[in-house]
Amino acid sequence: MSGQRRYFWPLLIIVAVVQSAALFKIVYDKDHLLKTAREITMPVRPLDPRDVFRGDYVTLGYDISTLNKANLPAAAKLDGLHRGSTAFVTLSPQPAGGWSVSGVSEDFPAQVPASDVVLKGRIKSDWARADGSDKTLNVRYGIETYFVPEGTGRDLESKVREHKIEAIVAVGADGTAAIKGLVVDGERHVDPPLL
């Protein structure tokens, strides 16, 4: 270290600036996504109680977390998808409110109706019968974890189980999704943007 003592301070500052900039970029990107991206609201599904509460965060499940070929329109292409691969899931608004899956593909769909929204997800597990039928995928979109203040997880957990919670999800143009907040018993809880 002695040979380069002269440059040590400048090097320290370079490292500190680069690392700070990297952190700032994450915050900026997330903040930007939450502020500008399209917002959709989806009901949160009760999960296996063993999984729901862990430490000080809640694991959220959605209807679109499990994709079953039998329940999907014919346009959904599930065959090329397997554990670890990226999936683009197109959601269409329902007349009665809420969203339903209208397409699944390996690449971002070429044409998306203005009313639809595309979410990027990653396949956590896949399953199919020996003849290839009844294919089922478990998908994570990066909106499955909600951090809560210590000790309040249990309350939220019971609310999730009683179907009283909806998640507000911001969806970017490339399909990136982020949790913006929760609707608890019809009341909106959203953190204001940071920057």
């Binding site: 490292v15 690392q19 915050v27 670890g84």
Partner: protein, 364 residues
């Protein structure tokens, strides 16, 4: 083996002086030189590294406990301030000549960078892909380690590369080849720093990665590949050592890792797969002969790591063969006869090597 170098040297110097081979001045000069050039890793620096790890944990749990009371912008500024404080302390300590304490401060700053990543994830409910955070963290640790020439930061980078690859491999249920990129980058930094403990860390990480290949490739049954890679590595290291004797200081510490890989592959082939009896006997003979070669090599080159590895491997192999063959065609008594013959051969070889070694000692 556990006696520190300086103590051993002092003992030898005293003996050499009594024999009249060395003057009092010579002895003192040698000890002074050792005292000046050594001092690599003192208790104070070890404790300061530990302290910086504890400071990191204290800071994280404090922030986590008061998380909700603090406006979000403050949280971010606090995290950034802790990173800058770490690097600032490193600069101050270096300017006062405490290079080892400066390393601890750098480690603290890199640790706080990781903590910041995690707390930002929490703030934005970023989920699912802690891998991206781990990737960013090891790159940041490597960046700091190279620019500031800090060995502890580089060691942290290697640990993070391993954690990152491991979580990825578990998640994808397949070999995560990008490990080799991270491993190569950090190992190159270790080599550039000429930091020997770092190269051992690298060798250990690669050893585990190669052994795991056997459990991941070909449906988890590619142990033959592991054994072959290990054997090639052994042959390459011995070949390099013979061709370029100057590299002995680098190749001889690496050789035991290659032997471990070979043995792990051969062991899994024999006892985790279900070979026919003929194959098992063949592989067992091959393994035992290889281990005997390792032991004799360890004796010939005074490589203690290799010697112990050979003994331990030999014991494990004998016990496992015994376990596998109890009650089978190969009777227990026959097994013991074979084991006795092998050990007799081992004793004979050891005797030969000892005879060969003795004249050298007298000459010295």
């Amino acid at each position: 083996m556990w006696v520190p170098y300086k103590t051993r040297l002092t003992r030898d110097l005293d003996r050499w002086r009594r024999n009249g081979w060395l003057s009092d001045d010579g002895r003192d000069a040698i000890l002074a030189d050792v005292a000046q050039s050594g001092g690599g890793f003192s208790l104070a620096s070890a404790l300061s590294i530990l302290a910086s790890v504890l400071f990191g944990f204290a800071a994280i749990s404090f922030v986590a406990a008061h998380w909700e009371d603090m406006p979000r912008l403050w949280r971010l500024l606090l995290l950034l301030a802790s990173i800058w404080a770490g690097y600032g302390a490193a600069g101050w300590l270096t300017s006062r000549g405490y290079a080892l304490f400066a390393d601890a401060a750098i480690l603290f700053a890199v640790g706080m960078f990781g903590a910041s990543l995690m707390l930002i994830s929490q703030m934005y409910h970023i989920d699912g892909d802690p891998f991206d955070a781990l990737l960013m963290w090891w790159v940041a640790a490597l960046f700091a380690g190279v620019l500031l020439r800090s060995n502890p930061a580089l060691a942290l980078a290697l640990v993070l590369v391993c954690v990152w690859s491991f979580t990825q491999a578990i998640d994808r249920n397949e070999v995560y080849w990008p490990f080799l990129i991270g491993w190569g980058a950090v190992s190159a930094a270790f080599a550039w720093q000429r930091w020997r403990p770092g190269l051992h860390l690298s060798a250990l990480a690669l050893t585990i990665f190669v052994i795991m290949l056997g459990y991941q490739l070909d449906g988890g049954h590619d142990h033959a590949l592991v054994a072959i890679i290990g054997a090639i590595a052994v042959a390459a290291l011995v070949g390099v050592e013979k061709a370029l004797p100057d590299t002995e200081s680098l190749t001889s510490p690496l050789l035991p890792y290659a032997v471990v890989v070979t043995f792990a592959g051969l062991y899994a082939l024999q006892f985790l797969e279900s070979p026919t009896l003929g194959t098992l006997i063949g592989l067992a003979a091959l393994t035992l002969v290889s281990l005997l070669a390792a032991i004799s090599y360890g004796l010939a080159t005074d490589n203690r790591g290799m010697l112990w590895l050979g003994y331990i491997g030999f014991s494990i192999e004998i016990l496992s063969v015994y376990w596998q063959t109890v009650g089978s065609i190969l009777g227990t008594s026959l097994f013991f006869l074979i084991a006795a013959l092998i050990v007799t051969a081992l004793a004979y070889m050891a005797l030969r090597i000892a005879h060969r070694g003795r004249p050298k000692e007298i000459a010295a």
